[in-house]
Amino acid sequence: MENILAGVATTQGIDELIKLLLGDGYQVIGPSAENNVIQKKEITSVEDLPKGYTDSQAPGHYALKRDSSSPELFSWAVGPASFKDNLFPSKSTLFEGKITKSDVSISQKEPFSQKVCFFGIRPCEVAAMAVLGRVMAGGPYQDPQAKSVRENSLVIAVECGYPAENCFCTSFDTGPMADEGCDIIITEITEGEHRFLLRSGSDTGHHILNRLNYKSALPEDVSARDRVIAKSISQIGKSIDAENTPSMLARNLSSHVWSDIARRCLSCGNCTMVCPTCFCASFEHSNGLENDFSVTRRWDSCFDTAHSYIHGGSVRTSTASKYRQWMTHKLSTWVDQFNEIGCVGCGRCITWCPVGIDITEEVAKIAESESK
């Protein structure tokens, strides 16, 4: 990679960047405040960004508020929708066809060929897309859409200046600073004049920054950025012991904590749906009324009893066993399977659990139950 290029931009400069990306033919997907949450949507200018919005999150709670006097564009933590469905759509038809007396015709989905830029995404999201990308397209059998997104999309990340109460990215080195997998890294600075530090993270990013007339970054811009990161790190209160948790959970499959969780757990599957790395899918073969048939894929959840259905019945019917399956996969057997932990610490499973079950607290309780 060429040298890192670092520039400083105003809000206007961010708009110029978005316009340049659009001019290059990218579909730009970025954050926006909609339906009282931070959502992602196709954006066309800096006006689409959630200016002045901050969120407050707690287990089972999310609220967005706006300070119209604030110039900040990125003063919030992750909303409910991750970028999972960009690699792995929630529902898709894999192929469909028709049976006639003499023939079977099959029409397959068009190959995915969009040029996408993920703009303003948090470091934990970048990490999650990498984890999911390795699952979907890292081995010998590659999902075409995940492969295309993984190889061809442009990633412009924003370092996190506003972690939420449920965040624990520092446990897995997936934030608040951005690092691997980014073409451009933005840090919003409010100390002194409101500005954005932009650094290239790839050759593509370097070339894009080269085409914008940003002021060169000064040492004080870089040190202000370092203070943003240090402040974020100091605000992150939750954690999971990444080193010891995989083996600790494997030793505690009979812990009494599982049934304690099951008393509260609704087995509704919200945690798996909002998780940016949960990849379980159900492949459904259907026939219609007119000799037509289709094979579709939709997100599935290990909390659905049918998910573990095999000949003779479901393997996991109790809520305790379903929750244990989910947590141990995420934090323990994922390591056996993919050589890394399947969690990036985004905190969505805590925020969007209707009854506020906190994975970090439950891990701690299981560890504590072992030492007793």
Binding site: N35, N36, V37, Q39, G60, H61, Y62, A63, L64, P80, A81, S90, K91, R263, R264, C265, L266, S267, C268, G269, N270, M273, V274, E284, S286, N287, G288, L289, E290, R298, W299, S301, F303, D304, T305, A306, T317, S318, T319, T351, W352, P354, V355, G356
Partner: protein, 251 residues
């Protein structure tokens, strides 16, 4: 082999589920092509005698006559599918099960002496063996089409058992419990509606009845935090599927 004979029967109900069959519109001709609609008086006066290959039963059992009629239908049908909240849980009219029926009758009718009714409104499966239940108030027409298509192909129809929450997430709805502090029965209710109410920012009314392993106790604790008092909670659980959510408000 001739076409499969389909019959549709009505018991105590509002006819909404039968209308869902007619609401299939685009697929109705294909359904009529695939099966012989032999007995469906909401649609046609032409009635072909049984036995029937598939009987769809709408409504709950509320009279002694109906309790006998459903037994006859069972004898005359190879497969019986109960459709909708009335047929699968007794429906809204099952609220009588928790009240004094005589008091209700005298309050509603000018001549209570003409009324002959059972004290309770019960599901079809309380009286006969039912082969499949399609939930909802009304049922989802896609489930009806799936039922016919699957039956003709000799496969099991795919009817979801998981929560409405999963449908919300598949659809991209924002959770109204977490982000809007609304009372919502989605986390304990069976999917099937496509998360219709949360999509328009209304809490789920639970019209598809309890999902597998519904943890109503835990949800009730949360909904109290969202401002639903005891009375409100009882009313929520005691609407379309009172007999199925019964354990919640009896405790």
């Amino acid at each position: 082999m001739g076409k499969a004979k389909l019959a549709v029967w009505k018991f105590a109900s509002c006819d909404g589920c039968q209308l869902s069959i007619l609401d299939c519109e685009d697929e109705l001709l294909a359904i009529a092509d695939a099966v012989e609609i032999a007995n469906f008086t909401e649609m046609t006066r032409k009635v072909i005698d049984g036995p029937y290959d598939i009987s769809l039963v709408e409504g709950s059992i509320t009279t002694a006559d109906d309790a006998q009629r459903i037994v006859e239908i069972r004898k005359n049908s190879a497969v019986i599918v109960a459709i909708g909240a009335c047929a699968t849980a007794g429906g809204i009219q099952a609220l009588r099960n928790y009240a004094d029926i005589d008091e209700y009758v005298s309050a509603v009718y000018a001549h209570p002496e003409y009324i002959s009714t059972l004290a309770t409104s019960r599901s079809i499966s309380d009286f006969i063996k039912v082969d499949l239940e399609l939930h909802g108030c009304p049922v989802n027409k896609e489930h009806l089409i799936e039922l016919v298509a699957a039956s003709l192909a000799g496969r099991k129809p795919r009817i979801p058992q998981y929560s409405v929450c999963e449908e919300c997430k598949l659809r991209g709805n924002v959770c109204v419990v977490v982000a809007e502090n609304m009372p919502c029965l989605g986390p304990v209710t069976s999917a099937g509606c496509g998360a219709l109410c949360p999509a328009v920012k209304r809490g789920c009314y639970g019209c598809f009845g309890p999902m597998q392993k519904a943890n109503t106790t835990s949800l009730a604790i949360r909904l109290k935090e969202n401002g639903a008092d005891e009375d409100k909670l009882h009313r929520m659980f005691k609407t379309f599927n009172a007999t199925k959510f019964e354990k919640e408000f009896s405790s």
